[in-house]
Each structure stands twice: as C-alpha cells, then as structure tokens.
C-alpha cells in the first residue's frame, strides 16, 4: 500500500515533467510571435507614417497594434495574425485621425495663437545641409516617394488601405478583405479606384 509521501512524490514528479513542456510551448509561441512582428514592423510603420504624416504617432500606433494583437488575438492561428494586425493598425490610424480632427476643431474655438498639429516645431538640425554629396538617383527616388505619399494621403481612407495592403504588403484579395472587414468585391473595387486615381495623379511623372 502506498504512503501519503509516495503519493506526494508521484504528484511532484508529474508536475516536474509538465513544467518543461509548458515552458517549451511558451518559448516557441513567443519566438513565432517575435518573428512575425519583426517581419512586418517596418512596413507597418511606413504605412502608418504615410497615413499620419508623423513618425512618433506612427510608432505609437504600431506599438499599440502589436500589444493589442498579443493581448487579444495571439491565441489565434498564426496564419490569421497578419490580417488581424493590419485591421488593428488601421483602426488605430482612424482613431488618431478622428482625435486630430476634434482637436483641430477645439483649437479654432480657443483664444490664443493657433497651432497646427501637422506643422510641429522642427528640429533645427533637420535644416542643416548634409555634408555628403547627394546622389541624383537617390534624390529622384526620394522625390518620387514623396509625391506618392502625398497622392496616397489624398485618397479616401478605404482606397488607401486597399492599395497599401494589396500592393505594399502583398496580401491577396481574401486576406485584404479580412484585414479591412469587408467583402472581396469591395476590396477589388477600392483597389481598382485607388490605382486609377494614383495613375492619374502621378502618370505624367512616371
């Protein structure tokens, strides 16, 4: 007949054998999550930067999206992470744009010097000329990208989302539809209109 100590020892052995398995599962999960985030973080940041025209705001929105994904949806299969992440990101961008609009309206009613949130004080170092000689090709690329960003900002939000997710992030129609929470038909329509509008605006340059 087994004594209570034997039973306790057996329970301890069972727990000791389970603990490494739990630890291994958690490590594998965090490694997979980190790999996914490292893969998309820069593109996501640039998309947010294009939409918001502010690096700090873009970084905040990306970080929020990362945390929200890990908090609420990380238990989902990893194949679903990308559309979910971009849906969270786009919601964050939209919320921030709404807050900006409200802030701008409030500021117009308040007395005192008017401040344009999009025209923040610039670092004087930004205006210092670069000592290195500028490469013409790089300059042309930078100018072309600036034109593209301006044109993207001029698009309706849904068209911009569809274009960036499909073309920059390389999502297929179904994945884009999940990220935008709409039908595949709507994605096709938004994307087609976005390409048409951008072509019209940039066609003569490119």
């Amino acid at each position: 007949m087994s004594t209570p100590m034997d039973t306790l020892n057996t329970a301890c052995m069972v727990w000791d054998s389970l603990a490494p398995a739990v630890k291994g599962a958690v490590l594998e999960y965090t490694r997979e999550l980190e790999k996914f985030l490292a893969e998309i973080e820069r593109r996501a940041f640039r998309m947010a930067q294009v939409a918001l025209r502010d690096s700090d705001d873009a970084l905040d929105v990306v970080q929020d999206a990362m945390i929200k994904l890990t908090r609420s949806y990380a238990s989902r299969p990893s194949a679903e992470w990308r559309p979910l992440f971009y849906r969270i990101l786009e919601n964050g961008i939209r919320d921030l744009q709404r807050r900006r609009t409200v802030r701008k309206r409030v500021m117009t009613w308040l007395p005192g010097p008017k401040e344009d949130p999009d025209n923040e004080a610039q670092d004087p170092l930004d205006n210092v000329a670069d000592a290195a000689p500028a490469i013409p090709e790089k300059l042309m690329q930078a100018e072309a990208m600036q034109r593209l960003e301006e044109s993207l900002r001029a698009l309706p939000a849904r068209q911009r989302e569809a274009f960036m997710l499909r073309n920059f992030e390389g999502m297929d129609v179904a994945e884009t539809a999940r990220a935008m929470a709409c039908s595949e038909g709507s994605v096709k329509t938004h994307y087609s209109r976005a390409v048409h509008a951008l072509r019209e605006q940039l066609g003569e340059v490119w």
């Binding site: 004594t3 209570p4 039973t7 306790l8 329970a11 069972v14 727990w15 389970l18 739990v22 599962a25 958690v26 999960y29 965090t30 999550l33 980190e34 985030l37 490292a38 973080e41 820069r42 593109r43 940041f45 640039r46 690096s55 970084l59 990306v62 970080q63 990362m66 945390i67 994904l69 890990t70 908090r71 990380a74 238990s75 690329q141 072309a144 990208m145 593209l148 073309n167 920059f168 390409v195 048409h196 951008l198 072509r199 940039l202 490119w206």
Partner: protein, 129 residues
C-alpha cells in the same frame, strides 16, 4: 490604361515603398525593435498566465486528493480502523475483561498465599512452643 502599364505602375510604387522601408534610419529601427520586445514580453507573460490557469485546477485537485488521503490515514479514526482490522487487541481485551477468567486468576492467587503462609510457619517454629 492597359493591364501592362498598370502592372508596371504597381511594381514601381511597390519598389519605391520597399526602398523607403529598407532605408529607415537606425534610430527608428531601434525604437521599433524596443516596441516589439515589449509586446513579445507582455505576450510571454500572458501565455505563462494562461497556461498556469489551465494547469492550476488539475494540480489543485491532485493536491487536495493527496491531502485528503494523508489526513484520513493519519487521523485517530483511521488508526481505530487499523486496530479493528487486526482483531488481536480486541481479543486480548475480551480475555482480560471476561468474568470467568478473572475468577480463576483470583482463586489461583489465593492458593499461592495460603501455601506461602504454611511454608513460612514450617520453616520457623514458634519460639514459645
């Protein structure tokens, strides 16, 4: 707009965007890495917590069962049960407590006293006689 031109346009915009991603400055890359680490660390803690909450009830039930068994075996009730299973202690008690057994013992004790009294008198004759 032809399909070919459209494809070329899309490829051009894609290449421009990717170029801007590749040329992100070091400071911004570093901040993105920090943001990622913070998110992953929070996710790891949460995963531990979730798995802990899954396993804790199982461990709790096992511990409760072990404690219950230990208390049962160590309790006076459990010890009584063990003696009763053996029967020998109860039998001994019954023998000692029975009236017949005790009467025999007392009779034997009385015989011994009479014998020792006789032997004592025989060994030492009365000095007055």
């Amino acid at each position: 707009m032809s399909e070919q031109h459209s494809d070329a346009f899309e490829a051009r915009t894609r290449a421009l965007f990717q170029d801007s991603v590749d040329n992100l400055d070091f400071a911004m890359r570093s901040r993105l890495t920090q943001a990622r680490h913070a998110a992953v660390e929070a996710a790891g803690r949460r995963a531990w917590y979730l798995r802990w909450t899954i396993w804790t009830p199982a461990v709790g039930v096992t511990a409760a069962a072990v404690l219950g068994v230990a208390l049962w075996v160590g309790s006076p009730l459990g010890q009584h049960a063990t003696i009763a299973d053996g029967q020998s202690n109860f039998e001994d008690l019954e023998l000692v407590a029975s009236s017949e057994g005790s009467g025999d013992t007392m009779e034997m004790l009385q015989d011994d006293i009479d014998f020792y009294d006789f032997a004592d008198k025989a060994a030492s004759p009365d000095p007055a006689a």
